[in-house]
Symmetry: C2
Subunit: 465 residues, 2 copies
């Protein structure tokens, strides 16, 4: 309609200013994982606070305590709790984002300075451009544009912007749960813009995430450090046993070999593949964006998407075994899907590794422990919150968004859902090839500008929640 | 004979002083691997220099340059080149030892302060007591005792004491090769006292060491860091491929499964087992000293000794795979025995891993590189240098020593042999349970005092070299 057109044209007209401000934000190297840059994270939080206050909003910087990092006790960056609009007759949208970024150094293989936003061929290269400064700024630009045009927003907006997302969101779950009856008590729906399109051309909205379990497998051979030179060949070597057990967990195509683990996976129903067929997803793009040196194990689009979204997967990480080792241990993260019970999976994995260890006839001692990294999550994509996101996508991009899930976990999603009891929508701004945690992270100019329109349009469409 | 008796009695009479001086040496916490303690290594070197000079010897402290440690450029500790006796009519013995020690901290699980020599039930607990301060002091006590008794030594003695042995002997090989035509040019035989008895009751002298090769196996899946959550299940995972390949290298009993690798192992001849039967070695002691949590894979003494000395072994260490990993890599140290050619072994290992990778039908890229850690070494135990060591053992302990090899590498041994072209003898002072690199390192009082007699008697027996 005419209002949308006016709103979108206004946003287009401010493109240069929007990019300039994003460059300012990227220049604040708010890396949460480094003690030396921790003050920059705080600076970034205050930069946002000043902006929200300039817009007429109010902000509380929530102190969430301290942590030990690099051997030092340091303050956690504050969580920014912002409020724009206090009309008791309106519903309230809560938006979440993070103002910290992953580490980056030119020497890691960046083609440009990571903290200098650099435009090349329609792309804005810089750490945090896409993850998550572009989207965070997007919310503020949407508000600012509505003010400049004298448009009244249909909802009050509460903002939760954290500075520790890239470092495990320390203290965040506790804060959200604590604010369930406080700052978040009047929230009617939640939107998180911190993920990506599946590919590079088609917008999507995301309604599901796999969960994750971590299993810690350790093998002990001796109570002492043994020098392999002295003992090699004469003792049961824990690392050998560990490697043997690990090699039985999953096949080279990613099929989990643990008895019973696939039993709880919902069978693929007759025309379910059509849902996946309809998704705009190109295997060749995927391979290129992932930087794979060879082919994917499952060349069909449907297989790859199903494995990414609806089937559990198992990876092996962080194998430790000192050079003069007493033993070895490993971390096995397993993606779980909504139907899987972590306790049940643990029992099956434990049964498997003990049986494999028994086959080795080794006298090493094996133990398995687990930790829950994040529960799986699936939302109702017909909720008015989602309908608003779908309408906004249609208005901005002229197409219905793909309805996607993600292979990874964004644990905060479920925390918001549980704390508010309300619908949570994942509404991405960037593309699948943005390289959020890699060298040469970028945000396309078109995604940035259209993303601002998208977030604004979404807000204006939140009339039925 | 009478001289021996007088010499041995004198040493016995000085027991308290010998222990007191060892306590002084242990109190100098000369840990070469820590920047903060590097000055203590230098202090220890000068402590020895002063003593040798007091005995009438001469010492050159050889500067061997700098290294980068903990991110700082630090001086390498000097190599002490000492000379006692310059009689041109005498032959020259060269002795090697090291005055640096492994790191130690009470909190690592020591029952006593590691740098306070503590006598308990006939044992002297302290870092460096056995490795290698006891033996280094032993040489000086032997010289001092001969002086006190007015006994003329049959040989001149050159001393090479280094301060970097526990940190890879940086610069040492170059120095020895450089001094082949200099300080070492007139050396007639070499003795190193830096290893241990096989067990706890029977003295031994050591004539062989296995060598070591390191193989670096790496698997690349992507040119980028991939988040397992996002990609798990849809790509060939390098860590999975790595674990699968590693699991095929060796069985749980330590048998190497690589085709052809065992071909070059000399077959066990008819009565060869008798040599091993004769060795004083107890499996139960071995298990206890190694702190094993279970049984050894080869319960017979002969099997365990053969696997330790005459068969190659293969271990798996240092598996790396970042949590968000592009790939995985591992280090596979392989012990090689004298008949094995590292180039040939490399080709066989490479053929094996490529074949195993091919079985996986994976599109990851695999590569193998190698590095030679130390060549194998076997000496002629009928050489007069060995005969002197055997006679000395008989005089001190009343028994013929076991003739042993060691599973590990002491690369300096071969370097001395190659640089001097002369016989090198390994003549241990301590016992197999001394725990050289563990918590609660100790040297038995009896091994210390008898060891001083042994080193002295060895010198006096060096009449036929
Ligand atoms: Zn993010
Ligand atoms: Zn991120
Ligand atoms: Zn040593
Ligand atoms: Zn040592």
């Amino acid at each position: 309609d005419a209002t949308s057109k006016k709103f979108f044209d206004h946003i287009e007209s401010k493109k240069d200013e929007y990019i300039k401000r994003l460059a300012e934000a990227v220049a604040i190297d708010s890396v949460s994982g480094e003690v030396a840059r921790r003050p920059k994270v705080v600076e970034m939080g205050h930069w946002l606070k000043a902006w929200i206050e300039k817009l007429g909003g109010t902000v509380t910087m929530k102190d969430i305590g301290k942590q030990t990092l690099e051997g030092q006790e340091v303050d956690l960056p504050p969580v920014l709790l912002g409020q724009y609009g206090t009309d008791p007759s309106k519903k309230t949208l809560c938006v979440y984002g993070h103002y910290d970024v992953q580490p980056a150094d030119k020497s890691d293989g960046w083609d440009t300075e990571p903290f200098v936003l650099t435009e090349k061929e329609g792309r804005l290269f810089g750490r945090g451009s896409s993850d998550d400064k572009g989207p965070v700024l997007g919310w503020l630009w949407a508000i600012e544009a509505s003010q400049e045009l004298g448009l009244d927003l249909p909802v009050n907006i509460k903002m939760v912007f954290e500075g520790m997302e890239e470092s495990g969101s320390v203290g965040m779950e506790e804060l959200i749960r604590a604010e369930a009856k406080g700052f978040l008590s009047d929230v009617d729906c939640v939107c998180i813009s911190d993920n990506y399109w599946l590919g590079t051309t088609k917008p999507c909205i995301t309604y599901g995430l796999r969960g994750i379990c971590y299993f810690f497998l350790s093998v002990e051979g001796s109570t002492k450090d043994l020098h392999s030179g002295v003992f090699g060949g004469t003792v049961h070597e824990p690392m050998v046993d560990l490697v043997k057990m690990m090699s039985t967990l999953v096949d080279a195509k990613g099929n989990i070999l643990i008895d019973g683990v696939n039993d709880t996976v919902a069978p693929v129903v007759a025309d379910e593949h059509k849902v996946y067929e309809a998704i705009d997803f190109d295997i060749q793009d995927y391979k290129r964006d992932a930087g794979l040196v060879g082919d994917v194990p499952h060349p069909s689009k449907v297989d790859t998407l199903m494995r990414r979204w609806r089937f559990p997967s198992l990876s092996i990480h962080g194998v430790e075994g000192a050079f003069y080792g007493q033993g070895g241990k490993t971390v096995i993260p397993r993606k779980v899907i909504p139907d899987q019970d972590p306790e049940d999976i643990f029992k099956k994995v434990e049964k498997h590794v003990l049986a494999e260890h028994a086959k080795l006839n080794s006298t090493t001692k094996v133990s398995l422990t687990s930790e829950h990294g994040g529960k799986p999550w699936v939302a109702n994509f017909d909720h008015p919150n989602y309908v608003a996101g779908r309408k906004a996508t249609k208005e901005v991009y002229g197409v219905e968004p793909d309805l996607t899930r993600e292979g990874g976990s964004i644990p905060i999603t479920l925390t918001f859902e549980e704390a508010t009891g309300k619908s949570v929508l994942l509404l991405p701004m960037g593309r699948g090839d943005d390289g959020a945690h890699s060298q040469n992270e970028k945000l396309d100019v078109s995604n940035y500008i259209n993303g601002i329109k998208l977030l604004g349009s979404y807000i204006f469409n939140l009339t039925d929640i």
